[in-house]
Symmetry: C2
Subunit: 469 residues, 2 copies
């Protein structure tokens, strides 16, 4: 736990933030101190609620001078504890809510850190554009958060991670100075790309206060299908064909096991079994195109050829927007649907796409040996090689013994990932949860380089000090 | 000029590199010391020709220990002098020529730094894939060079800069240690992205020795057209329509003024005027799609609607691959075609796409006032807001007076760019030529941050010391 914050620092912070700009009220603080899956409960002496970049700068400047650490929080949807303070000053971006500009022609929106992803989507739609980052938590997740964690989501296959979708950034650096990098250029080769350093830095190199985000044209043609397949190997073979068939129009390609679908049927009201009979694995595929009818035609060809090749057991194509939403809901509910099933070891891993099936085979064999009777719910963005690999306690067993073996179990999974050249955090980041684990798998050369960068920009280590290198 | 290299350092370098692994022969060195446009002539006491990552590591380690600076060179196609040594040890990647792996399924090629871009294209084509970076210099430019300069090219509009196309890197850091970051993952959120720092670092943070590059499916449908338009404003309006019409299938959208086309007709043998009559401006547009016939159909609709809207004066669609190549050759020869016209102030600038026409108006008025009679050849990647804006001496005038005013003239152009939130180096980098100029336009906050990063990773400032911050 962090050392107490000196009283004079608190009074200086109160004075720059003014009334309504801070809180020490336990009720106001409570929701910001609890991670949504109940894995972390934090503590803070002071919640800062700056309403402008200048106020963020003042807060960080005071803390820098006094060497007082800060944890920054957006929508509190992070999955690795990076947003939960453990005694640090908590800086919330909730009042940085302006959409400063939107330009359909330049295909850019400039949004402040506290704007939610859903608000970005609405703003983009209002000018017939879209921001291709879709997260289950998009109603709450914020611009600052998705940038600081380099969020992924379901459209990475086509558009890349958030890292690829940021044209410019404004941030307050750890010394309190404002860096205005809010360019809206597609090309700018004038030295190290500071914004690329801040993206995915999980709040350790400064506070992102606003971003210029890249927009894309709205797609006029879209086809969504749920496909029953025998195995992950069949799914990956289908992915390869889908890419060839559409030449880049694959918008999403998600894999789910039957068990996860059953959890959704059981635990999420209103879920319907997507196909007549159960299948061992499911692919949710979405194609999209700017040319009318093109995605639908490609989907029809793709499914026909897949059936003929024996790679598809059965499939249904959404005929309406409501049907498409219902299919996507099964995928998006994979995580919430597990919750009632009890203690779970969650993993957010990636391997080269060609190794996904090998990974699932090896990891599942290892888990069945290590934790007999455990239930494996694997799902994720197979097109990116990114699997959310969740190991749930045996049906009817108590939670505690399973929860107690989490670290050992995860070590086995992560070792398999590492042996395949994979990543132990594909899209969630390291946060407080995985920083030490990541150190195990990185070379000393890389760790030393990352530590040097951290020390160069955050010399007093006041920004999210428990996180990263 | 850099201090002389001590004799014992030279003898240690010779001993680790072995016979054939180094040279001090003026004839062998000459082509590596001359920039291709004759703007820089360098000097070096020693050419290192390592043939493996381990040898690169040994060379850099010896130089690090002794504090001896190094300049790294790939294909020597850089345009800003960053690859030309001024007394430093010259490290050439020419013997790092292996394609270590290629995998069509994972859509990745692992190539060493000295492999040319054209060789990457060939390797990709052999497995029905492609690497979407096209440069006029691709027969000579190398993997290490395009990564270290974050190269752009004609396909950025669709695929982004090289920064977006690198899955993993192997590099020798300034202390001589090898960083093996040769992952082939689409997603990996485990701390600051070291490869993003090295990309575009112009050799100042280490020597890139190999890279895992992202491949894409081959396009089966492609349409190339040369379009005569009235003005850059018409071109930009067409671009907006093309994006909407194709929903992301615009592969290239290049603008050229009539003067540049005339230079090609005059100075490049075999060039034919692309359209029946001359037009003030030309757009070279390429659409590509994975769906047979789709790009051709979209081009037909796009041209029809553009003609009807009065935005297109005339257009021709390539009917064969040879015709497509001939149209592209006009664009690719814009720079060589200028050379016989005499002294030129070249600029590689970007502005928000919506400001391209304003920039051209303002800059041209300013140049005509500052250098009466000068000839403006503007061309470039209008879809990215990136214009190569070249100011050539008056026809028939001597070179020297024009060349002597280069810095003053460029300052005017750059000030206009900066006033529009643009970049003074969109794709060529800063090198030895523009580092000081870039400092003028960046905030002290940003410069301090970039200097801190440099000092953290290259504490003795031995890697390309004259370049960047």
């Amino acid at each position: 736990m962090t050392a107490p914050v000196p009283a004079d620092v608190l009074s200086r912070l109160k004075s720059v933030l003014g009334e309504g700009g801070w809180s020490q009220d336990p009720e106001r603080l409570a929701p910001k101190l609890l991670e949504w899956r109940d894995r972390w409960r934090g503590e803070t002496p002071f919640l800062a609620l700056p309403r402008s970049t200048e106020e963020v700068s003042a807060v960080v400047g005071i803390c820098f001078e006094a060497g007082v650490p800060i944890t920054t929080q957006g929508g509190n949807t992070g999955l690795v504890g990076g947003q939960i303070p453990m005694g640090e000053v908590l800086l919330s971006t909730e009042r940085l809510r302006a959409i400063r500009d939107i330009d359909a022609f330049d295909e850019v929106v400039v949004a402040e850190a506290g704007v939610t992803l859903a608000q970005v989507h609405e703003a983009a739609a209002s000018v017939r554009r879209r921001f291709p980052v879709g997260l289950a938590s998009e109603g709450t997740a914020t611009v600052g958060g998705v940038i600081s964690t380099n969020a992924g989501g379901t459209q990475v296959l086509r558009y890349g991670m958030v890292r690829n979708l940021v044209l410019g950034l404004e941030a307050v650096l750890p010394n309190g100075e404002v860096w205005n990098g809010l360019k809206r250029l597609r090309k700018d080769n004038t030295g190290y790309d500071l914004k690329q350093l801040l993206i995915g830095a999980e709040g350790t190199l400064g506070v992102v206060t606003a971003a210029a985000l890249k927009l894309y044209p709205v797609m006029v043609s879209r086809a969504v299908a749920m496909i029953g397949v025998e195995s992950p190997r069949a799914a990956i073979e289908l992915l390869s064909r889908a890419k060839e068939e559409t030449g880049g129009a694959v918008e999403g390609f998600e894999l789910m096991g039957r068990l996860g679908v059953e959890f959704a049927l059981k635990n999420i009201a209103g879920t319907r079994d997507p196909l007549g009979e159960p299948h061992p694995w499911y692919v949710l595929a979405e194609f999209a195109s700017g040319e009318a009818g093109s995605a639908e035609a490609a989907m029809e060809r793709f499914l026909g050829e897949g059936l003929e090749a024996g790679l598809i057991r059965d499939a249904v194509v959404a005929q309406t927007e409501a049907q498409a939403k219902a299919l996507w809901a099964i995928r998006e509910n994979q995580s919430p649907a597990q919750k009632p099933e009890g203690a779970t070891w969650k993993h957010d891993v990636s391997v080269p796409v060609s190794r996904v099936a090998d990974f699932l085979d090896e990891a599942t064999a290892a888990m069945q040996a290590f934790a007999p009777g455990c239930r494996i719910a694997a799902f994720g963005h197979v097109g990116d090689g990114n699997i959310h690999y969740d190991v749930i306690r045996p049906d009817g067993a108590p939670d505690a013994p399973h929860a107690a073996r989490r670290d050992q179990g995860s070590r086995i999974v992560h070792d398999i990932v590492a042996s395949m050249g994979g990543s132990i955090s594909a899209e969630h980041g390291l946060g407080a949860m995985k920083t030490e684990e990541a150190r195990r798998y990185k070379s000393p050369v890389e760790v030393a380089a990352l530590e040097a960068v951290r020390a160069a920009l955050d010399p007093k280590r006041i920004m999210n000090p428990r996180v990263l290198f």
